[in-house]
Point group: C2
Chain length 360, copies 2
């Protein structure tokens, strides 16, 4: 009996503190500048099973029980998969089954966790023995910021200098145990598809925002400052840097032609309320990715106040996350989303039990 | 019988095309860069009567039938009035009665018309013979952009170089007859007071927006380009420049610490809809001052489409304006808002008759 080339991985999304917005190489997904992030805990994880088999006639990719069919959808996963096959020197077709409780395209960094999980599962299925930097590069080729999800704790994605991108990967700033009372409150204001996808949006910003070059100038300095604040656990310093950087990024988006405007009235309300909360000392910092959903960095003791602010802004659904860990490989047969014969196991998220249920 | 020192002036608001945002001198109201604008027609005019008399025990200022009482309110008019008294070498107290159909502080440039009318009425009441450049300087000292309201048609406010501000005034680009089918559709989304006043807002932007310096770099070029587009009546070029500049200014506002966010969801809806309207050639250009109210520059033939866009965004009240004229002095006794004895005449705007009614 041939060896079953199958593995399952879980990865957690990361939320950027210093944001990634703009590529210097579209194909290799090389950023214009460095960025950093904190990895969320398991509440927003993605699980992915990848299987390679000569029984498969074609690649098949399923995300949240929906098969990807359009070229645009497939484009999100196929390049990474093809690179892995090339590296492993195989031609086998693959089945990829991925499940995430995170809204996929609402600026919640769901795809970062998804692509990181694919990279881990696929390379593990093929028995490839990659360093974490090589895995980070693979994740980067999948979805840019996914490269930061290879670490738990806090990670920095190095801009790198080489044209082939081999030095553009994430390094860990501090692990998940470094800052026990750090919290990330993730508000889910909208889970719909975005009007402007991040990829197209950042391309336009690089091409025609007048202000963007100024952002690039100042980023190296704040990247260093924010790393320092993380290492020193200087919460108010870090929260302020995060807010300023979020504002700065959304400013360059608005300066893009045509303008990109991800924030809505609820986002603005959260921003004003957090500034009010911070009037006598910074207790929390808002951060917005490419969408209206607010993410609030704070400390355990301020979580109740932050939750109230989001509720008052009409945001009903939210997650309070600790600093989370890096990807892991699940070995137990019961954990795979594809059985040993290549059939997809029925799976769904049970909100009451708060767990992924797999029909076995 | 002593001479009655009283005069009445009317002035129209102007809407900036290249925006003014940021002072290099707070006291003299000297801008960081040049700006330009189009003057609206009479629909949004302000009428002001100023009277000086030794019978008055103190200065008294009335705007829209409400007396200004707080230091913050008085600060808007008093400096200009004091400068005029100094120039005329008189110490008489003044009564100022101003009436405008424009919301005063909703980013609708109402104060520009108001301060221009005060400057014209006050200097006329005192029989001062000022050049239009000197009047423009006086208006500037009142409210910055008011200096552009001394001209009908299109005007440019020169940055100037001198420390005393004597070379920072408006010049006319083209008069009100230059572009007969040019239209300005002014939407009134909100007429409430602003969260962040323009004066404080622009001060913060100059002080701490990272991106603002880049804006200053690019402005001289677009100022020249937009003047050229006005002179050539190149509508689509001018509309694009206006939209880009509005976006650029609001971007630097968002990049300010704390961030300044004047646009709301309705503003965004208008922006997206105008870009859609422009897909096969630019028919209109949006522009936002320090508030959520959209102003749309367009041509007569596209007004119906533009009005529909504003209506769809929930904006019910709007004005369609031609290019308007500069301030004028009203000589007829019946036009004064203050009678010859210094008593205020009851006055109000009759929306049905669409005219200012004065009880005589």
């Amino acid at each position: 009996m041939p060896k079953i080339l199958r593995a399952t991985a879980e990865a957690n999304p990361n939320i950027a503190i210093i944001k990634y917005w703009g590529k210097r190489d579209e194909k290799l997904i090389l950023p214009m500048q460095g960025s950093n992030s904190v990895t969320l805990d398991e509440q927003l994880k993605t699980r992915t099973t990848v299987m390679f088999s000569d029984k498969f006639r074609q690649d098949e990719i399923w995300i949240n029980n929906k098969q990807l069919t359009t070229p645009e959808e497939l484009e999100k996963v196929m390049p990474q998969l093809n690179i892995i096959r090339e590296m492993a020197k195989i031609r086998l077709k693959a089945k990829v089954v991925s499940y995430s409780v995170t809204p996929v395209a609402g600026g919640l960094a769901g795809s970062a966790a998804g692509l990181a999980a694919v990279a881990y599962a696929a390379t593990n299925a093929l028995g490839m023995n990659l360093s974490i930097s090589e895995l980070s590069v693979l994740c980067r080729l999948g979805s840019g910021s996914a490269c930061r999800s290879v670490y738990g704790g806090f990670a920095e994605w190095k801009r790198g200098e080489k044209a082939d991108g081999s030095d553009s990967f994430a390094v860990q700033i501090a692990d998940e145990k470094h800052w026990p009372d750090f919290r990330i409150v993730v508000g889910v204001a909208e889970s719909g598809e975005k009007k402007v996808k991040s990829r197209a949006g950042m391309k336009h910003t690089v091409a025609n925002s007048i202000l963007y070059s100024k952002r690039l100038e100042y980023l190296p300095k704040v990247l260093k400052e924010s790393k320092d604040a993380i290492l020193k656990k200087d919460a108010s310093r870090l929260f302020e840097i995060a807010m300023r950087d979020s504002n700065d990024m959304h400013a360059t988006m608005h300066d893009t032609w045509p303008p990109i405007m991800y924030l809505n009235d609820a986002s603005k309300e959260v921003i004003y309320a957090i500034h009010e909360l911070n009037q006598n000392g910074i207790k929390a910092g808002y951060s917005f990715d490419a969408g209206p959903n607010p993410t609030i960095f704070t400390l355990d003791k301020h979580v109740a106040e932050v939750k109230k602010i989001l509720e008052n802004a009409g945001i009903k659904k939210m997650f309070v996350s600790n600093v989370g860990s890096g990807p892991k490989i699940l070995k137990d047969e019961i954990e795979h989303l594809i059985d040993e014969n290549g059939n997809i196991r029925k799976h769904s998220f049970d909100e009451k039990k708060n767990m992924l249920v797999i029909e076995y």
